[in-house]
């Protein structure tokens, strides 16, 4: 067994075909660099700025960008927009990534079980997926966020609850086609348990599409958090998030347009980056999926 499993030629991960194609996909690289810079800024930035994100200064309300050391201006309470933007970035990126992890794990579990078992269990699981997909996600998320207590953790759960279906569909289709392959028959003949076959033998072969879907899910989760926080049902102030910084910005659109423009630009930047990365990964991992 061990002799057969010996690697053909030891290559470093960055020398592999996948990595080469990823790097050659310049947009993906741009996305990766942008998101790294953004994450670094959000992690390190707040301690470098002279203002705290919660510091209220009523004498400095509505200061436009580049007023003194308020590089991005101040909000209606005189809080520094730059400090709030970076703190909000921590929350928004964290919510996006955690919601992606949760929905990917849940979707993968459902997909693997439905695809491998098939039959009644598979049918029930996949019809449930169809059922969840029939609800426009923001309607569902808003209804849940309005009824439940909108703590950041709960927002993550709620977003994951409306984003797990796509992964489930992708994994189910992949597992269904993989389970008739020789290596699966061989594992079954060796007497391995179903759980072992599902998660140790089949799942690693379906990782490509899962990774691509996951990177695109981060983008959508960040957008969804922004939508519900903008509408006032997401992350609650004084905790800042990119979405809730825009909540209320509409009424000051004429006098303080930077309040609307800056957080929106941050959201667009982050979401674009994840979309670029997802697209690059799709090319690199040779996944043919939907084009969205």
């Amino acid at each position: 067994m061990t002799a057969l499993a010996a690697p053909i030629a030891p290559t470093r991960w960055w020398q592999g075909r996948a990595a080469r194609r990823f790097i050659s996909h310049r947009l993906a690289l741009v996305g990766a660099i942008m998101i790294t810079l953004l994450a670094l800024a959000c992690i390190l930035g707040p301690s470098l700025l002279p203002y705290d994100s919660l510091h209220i200064d009523l004498r400095a309300r509505f200061a436009p960008p580049l007023t003194g050391s308020h590089y991005l201006g101040t909000d209606p309470l005189g809080r520094d927009v730059a400090a709030r933007l970076l703190m909000a970035g921590r929350i928004s990126l964290m919510v996006g990534v955690l919601a992606m992890l949760l929905s990917t794990v849940a979707g993968t579990l459902v997909g693997v079980v439905a695809g491998y078992r098939g039959g009644l269990i598979g049918a029930v699981l996949m019809r449930t997926v169809d059922g969840f997909l029939a609800f426009p996600s923001i309607f569902l998320v808003l209804a849940l966020a309005a009824l439940l207590k909108p703590t950041p953790g709960m927002i993550v759960v709620i977003i994951a609850l409306t984003k797990w279906m796509e992964v489930a569909r992708i994994v189910e289709a992949e597992v269904r086609s993989l389970k008739e392959r020789e290596f699966v028959h061989a594992s079954r003949m060796l007497g391995l348990s179903s759980a072992h076959i599902m998660f140790r033998e089949i799942l690693p072969n379906a990782m490509g599409p899962i990774i691509v879907a996951a990177s695109l899910t981060v983008a959508r989760a960040i957008l969804l958090e922004a939508y519900i926080s903008f509408l006032g049902y997401g992350i609650q102030p004084p905790l800042p998030s990119w979405g809730n910084m825009l909540n209320g910005a509409q009424q000051y659109l004429a006098s303080a347009p930077w309040l609307a423009i800056i957080p929106g630009a941050a959201i667009t930047l982050a979401v674009t980056s994840f979309n670029f990365i997802g697209d690059g990964l799709r090319d690199a991992l040779d996944v043919r999926g939907d084009l969205k």
Partner: protein, 316 residues
């Protein structure tokens, strides 16, 4: 064909039942629930709450309550709005026209622009236009609709003063022209994402059919290039687009909620948002169910149309 239709119909009905279960479970099992509206009233004693529970049938098992609710739903009794006692279906009907107007016009824009961009991208593959369309589409998919709306209001209403910043018509006016004037900005904003999706799918579908044998045959016969493109390639590429139109319904409704909120457009999305603010659960539930039904119907209609147009499915 009949078997196909019957099969799809049964599938849709099953899905409808599943959707109703999901909707009911989510909204009825949540802490608080229908009684939360009375929770803030200090004049209510525990006895009153118990009596209310009895009256509303809340002490019965969940499945009995679900069947009761579903039975009423099928018979058109969707409950009444807690705000003013109007039947939920009437409230929805009142807001439906505004949403249809907005969704309809933005869908027309999206299909027209998306199809054109998709065709041009495919025929001029790897050209500057193609790259610009690819990157543009990805950025368009990343812009939050509400932010695009706010920027649109800032530029076109506040700075240039060309277009109104919200509402469906001006008070005291109400001419067709006035409606159109108010429609331009929200429908353009709502269509942005969909132009992006449509153009990407159209490009892929075009590239799929450009390399088909029947295109080579037509070319070998000496058919004019333009005729090949319009008749053979575009014609076939439009087929998957019909399915896409059905699949896109949920996201159009989603976009409509955000767009309607930003532009104070009196449609279903705005109604949903306002009803949440008033804890008007019957209306919230009604809109959730209504939109899910619309989505299922949309997918069903798209499948049927594809079957009617595509002989490969019809004759199978």
């Amino acid at each position: 064909m009949h078997r196909f239709l019957l099969g799809r119909l049964v599938q849709s009905l099953v899905l409808l039942v599943i959707v109703s279960v999901i909707g009911y479970v989510i909204l009825s099992l949540i802490p608080g629930g229908p009684l939360s509206q009375f929770g803030l009233d200090p004049g209510l004693t525990a006895d009153d709450i118990a009596r209310l529970k009895e009256q509303m049938g809340l002490n019965q098992p969940v499945w009995v309550r679900y069947l009761d609710w579903a039975w009423k739903l099928v018979h058109g009794d969707w409950g009444v709005s807690l705000r003013d006692g109007t039947p939920v279906l009437t409230v929805i009907a009142r807001h439906l026209v505004a949403t249809l107007l907005l969704m309809g016009s933005s869908t027309v824009i999206a299909i027209a622009a998306g199809t054109w961009i998709g065709i041009r991208s495919a025929t001029h593959r790897y050209s500057l236009f193609d790259y610009a369309a690819t990157i543009g589409a990805m950025i368009a998919l990343s812009i939050p609709t509400f932010w695009f709306g706010l920027v649109g209001i800032y530029v076109f209403s506040l700075k240039l003063g060309w277009l109104p910043a919200g509402n469906m018509y001006s008070i005291g006016d109400g001419s067709v022209l006035d409606y159109l004037h108010h429609l331009i900005l929200p429908s353009l904003v709502l269509s942005l994402v969909h132009v992006a999706v449509w153009s990407r799918y159209m490009r892929a579908a075009m590239l799929d059919s450009i390399n088909q044998d029947f295109v080579k045959t037509a070319r070998a016969k000496g058919v004019a290039e333009r005729r090949i493109l319009m008749k053979h390639v575009v014609g076939n590429a439009l087929l998957p687009m019909i399915t896409l139109a059905g699949v896109q319904l949920p996201s159009i409704l989603t976009g409509a909620l955000v767009t309607e909120t930003v532009f104070t457009w009196p449609g279903m999305g705005r109604l949903f948002y306002d009803s949440l603010g008033y804890s008007d659960y019957p209306v919230v539930m009604g809109i959730l169910m209504f939109s899910a039904i619309v989505v299922i119907l949309g997918n069903l209609i798209a499948d049927v149309v594809v079957a009617l147009v595509d002989p490969r499915i019809r004759l199978a």
